[in-house]
Symmetry: C2
């Protein structure tokens, strides 16, 4: 579960140059190829590295508008609402949060006008009592993981 310094270097290197191969990594890190391979296998079976799927930019797909919707759910309707939201492609993520029957929903849309359509589709469901939406303007820190990986690696070094 905890990662050591070498694991951290592997992940960071992989994050910076995803196209790199195991052999080149072993050269850069100064360890044997088999070691890198074993570490990678372990990190993946640990679940630390979930995968290497392509990171797709919704904006480049024609969905430049991002918004968050906070939904208040009628008691007992949670499962239905989840199933409903899972069918909406513009719903990129759904989280349940503290506060009874609250959900947070990450949305994208083709334009501000299109966002209205998306929101209508999202909230057009019986179990949703109330919804409030916040539009994202800028993204000063895009979703990142490297600093946390370095932190985790440094922590384990102290152990």
């Amino acid at each position: 579960m905890a990662i050591d310094h070498l694991d951290g270097r592997i992940i960071v290197l992989l994050a910076r140059e995803p196209r790199i191969g195991v052999l080149e990594m072993s050269r850069r890190l100064g360890v044997a190829r088999g070691t890198v391979q074993a570490r990678l296998d372990r990190l993946q079976s640990n679940g630390v590295i979930r995968g290497f799927g392509p990171q797709v930019d919704p904006a480049a797909l024609g969905y430049p508008v991002t918004a968050f919707a906070t939904l208040q759910i009628r008691q007992g309707q949670g499962a239905d609402v989840r199933a409903h939201l899972a069918t909406v492609p513009e719903v990129l993520e759904l989280l349940t949060t503290t506060g009874s029957g609250d959900m947070l929903c990450r949305l994208v849309a083709r334009s501000n006008a299109d966002l209205q359509r998306v929101i209508d589709r999202v909230v057009g469901f019986d179990g949703i009592v109330r919804a409030s939406t916040t539009i994202v303007m800028e993204n000063p820190v895009p979703l990142r993981i490297i600093p946390l990986v370095e932190q985790a690696a440094a922590d384990s070094a102290g152990t």
Copy 2:
């Protein structure tokens, strides 16, 4: 910018089996290898595919708690606050939202108790007027992109 059906199939296939190579993709899709290669190059230079970085699970790194903090920023302090938050490893993402001086901040922590430490570090900065935090309990729809890709590919098909 718009993707066609073949682009969509490439992305979906890549998302499902990231380890797959160009050659194997061309076999599965029934097109020539060069075509897949050209499409992939184009998708990447378009910015539709940003990269293939490893998807790291913060929970597996020892940070199982996720939270969102809504920050209200003092006028004119936005840039300073961004710089401050960028230095906190537990800040995975930072967005500015509608509502003057509002930011939304995605956090992780080692535990609920540790979250207090993270929040203290986040809000312990002059430009932040007020902060409210919501803890994430479940993640019924993890960050996903495939449905949107399929949608975008279907849309362009109609064109």
